[in-house]
Amino acid sequence: MSLLSSLRNWARGVFHRSALDSEMEEELRGHLERRADDLERSGLPRAEAERRARVEFGAYQAHLEESRAVLGAGWLDSVFQDLRLSVRRLRKNPGFTLAVLLILALGIGANTAIFTLTYAVLLKSLPVPNPQELVRYTFRSGDMDLSLSGPLYDALRKHETACRDVLAWSGEDFSMEANGEARKVQGALISGNGFRVLQLQPALGRTFTEADDVSAGGPQGYQALLGFAYWKEHYGARPEVLGRPLRVNGTSVTIIGVLPAGFDGLVSGQHADLVLPLAFEEILHGHKSMRLAAGSFWLTLIGRLNPGASLRGAAANLAATEKQVRAEADPQHIYLDRFFSAYRLSVESGRSGRSYFKVLYSRPLLALEVLVTLLLLLCCANTGLLVLAGVSARAREFAVRRALGAPAGRILRQVLSEIGLLAVFGLAGALALGWAGAHLLSAMLAGFGEPPPVDARPGPWVFTFTAALTLVSFLAAGLWPAIRAARIAPLSGIKEGGNFRPPTGTGRWIIPAQVAVSVLLLAAAALMGRSLLRLLLEDSGFRAGHAVLAAVELPNASSSASPPVLYAQQMVEELEHTPGINSAAAMSLLPISPSFSAGHYYSVGRDGAVHSDSTTWPETITPGYFSAMGTRILEGRAFVAADLASEQVCVLSASAARYYFPAEDAVGRYLYSGGANSEEDGKTKPSPENTFRVIGIAEDARFRSLREPAPRMLYILERDNQFSGYFTLVARGPNVAATSAALRDVLRRRLPGTPLPPIFTFDQLVARNLVRERMLTALAGCFAGIALLLTAMGLYGLLARNVVLRTREIGLRRALGAGPRDSVGLVISQALRLVVAGILAGLCIALVTGRLIAAFLYQVSPTDPWTLLAVAVVLLLVALAASSIPAWRAVRVDPMHALRYE
């Protein structure tokens, strides 16, 4: 207790306790002396007089204590006393202590973990002045959130009246050369007005102005800004970096400033270690510059509202000017129309910048928050039940203490201080658990070899949230048993000879409520599990179980000696000749990944009917593709090497074949690459390079995502260097490890001096595609498991106590001839009444609230009767299991033993 006593000493100093105390004691001693004097004068010897004075005075310490309490100085003392008592009691009941600690830490910890993510993804603001004034322009279709193009930015900015100005931002990877070695640096490009819009002051030097955002970067060349963390790590936070030259993507740039600490760009999950003006894009993309390409979507646009303007105003302004903006950005209506038919241009709050995760995870996170709150309710209910059971067991002690004069408030405080102590330790456990959980989840969300996209570091907000939650749980779980304890009448416990009966009715509603909550959690988990299973088991059009893939990115595509296709073809050939590899191929875009492609094609039927479509996904592949990815050819044939020498050929997916050739056999027919205007389709004779003869039909494959229907696919044989600097290699053999090693070998040999691209299996690709479903299922499953356990515990506790309380009744029944089945029936029927009521209530709520999780389910109805039935059965089984031990105890009740007490 040295900590306690030192704390007390400190408190004494703070409250001027010593002065007050000595004054009080002086007064009380004065009283005793005067009394002793009087008694002595009446003839008693001095010693006897002093003794009598003390006796008459009563309990000196108690009165002193009470006097202190009156003056308000004693509360700290009594709190410490309560705490000391609590520590002693908790140490004497390790089972109770551990159970409550575990339950609280689990319940609050789960909430902390989810809230950490919710905060990072949904609530965190950009570290700029007045972030609530920021708006972001979105171009969205369902879960797809497209960036915007340069011409759209220019037109939008010109017509925007609700915002002071609009900035453009693009996250980029730069290749920084230092000491003859290239290093990948994550950074961004920003328009010249960007820092003015953000109102961000540099930590050092200056930021960009419009004069920096011009071709070639102005008379001094390109200027660059360093991120604060990068500056600290790589330049030791030395101010001399200003004016230093850097070589970035083969171009010299000059450092002119350092970004403020804490600012890490506008896109969550990306770092802003190096920031360059938007005009630097001409260096990054060379002759394929995207700045003026209306159909290249790469810019994140964020504006700052005028004083007094609202998000709604910005949306209205955008709706009013959209037509004009489109016309200015794409005067010939070549590029944008087909996107605007599927995507909607809108504005949303830009307070937290842009987050791909927000699009995908805002609703799942809210659903998780609901689930985890339910879990906490359960935990509180169970803690309350445990504490109440403890209070009942100590009813005699409380009754005696009350009879000896302890006020009710004192008992209340004693019980509360025990739970309070548990809550404080529970808080510590919850923080540790929540922190670990959040890290686990954010690691789960990370892509291949990428840093976690969500900042799961605990911050002051998360801590505040957890502390507040702990306080709420403490009150919810502790106040009600404490009040019960304080209400115990001073004598009742003694009178009944220790056979204290807890107030009946407790648990009558708690158990059904617990069961109902468990039903909800279990139903959510089961439904999510079922849809995940469906997604995994359904035919995706890929049977690539042992396939290993690599997303290759060629260094400096524009300047490398041989064109990318040569690299690709050489690598594929080398892989094909590696023993242990059965098939290998290269493809332009990685399937079931965020990449996405669409092109305009048309066919002309024998009857002259033209079928055109601009959502067909052209995928350029090498001949081994179909066998490597396990996509079956339904009709016709796959590519062979000889096809490279003949006219252009293609393979269509089944849905594409049905669309383009609804009434005839597609094999042997022709597909044409359409021009800018679909009105022109079929009116002119297409050139040979725009003509593809269909040689086969492949089964549909869910290229975009396992969650989405298969797009119309057009497979084209790679021949004219259609791979840009990016392509995906795939190799398949019986042994995944050997295949990965071979792939790594080939990449190292062919691309020396560049960092090894990420290598992953097809199963990992699937797992990444379904990470949202996996996370939801895993978490909901966890929560449901805990909920079942807690419910079983609560039910068991209640039934066990009831068996003890009704021992006499059961014994009497047995003595009167009832069999053991009757005793079991007594317990089970009580359990069933409670559980069935809970199950029914839970199912009703599940039916009503089902649509809340419908959005995350895949071809599973949120009110699926079989799932809900299974949930009900599981809960019944758990309830039976929980009541089996109390039932067994009821059977073992010895009638004679029980009746002897009468």
Binding site: E27, L28, G30, R35, G58, A59, H63, S67, A69, V70
Partner: protein, 113 residues
Amino acid sequence: MGDQAQLLPGTLDLLILKAVSLGALHGYGVLLRIEQISRGALRIEQGALYPALYRLVRQGRLKARWGTSDNNRRAKFYELTSAGKKMLRQETDDWGRLAAAIASALRAQPEES
């Protein structure tokens, strides 16, 4: 000590106010004064006096100051504030009414039918 009555709850404050109303007193003096004015009929646990005194000070009914007592010892003296005077009047009236009511209730005879 013989024929002494236990104090009813809540009456100690009233007695203290009454005792102090006759002149400033230290704690032990308050005790003696109560015994004196009740002619020794009321027994007070002496220690209980002090929490009551502090409470009354806290409530603003009494004020306390340190002074010197009879044989030159330091002592804390209590006297009534105006709020204390008002409370004394009020409580005295209430007590009178209550005592009268209880006395008359206890005198009542069962009605013969």
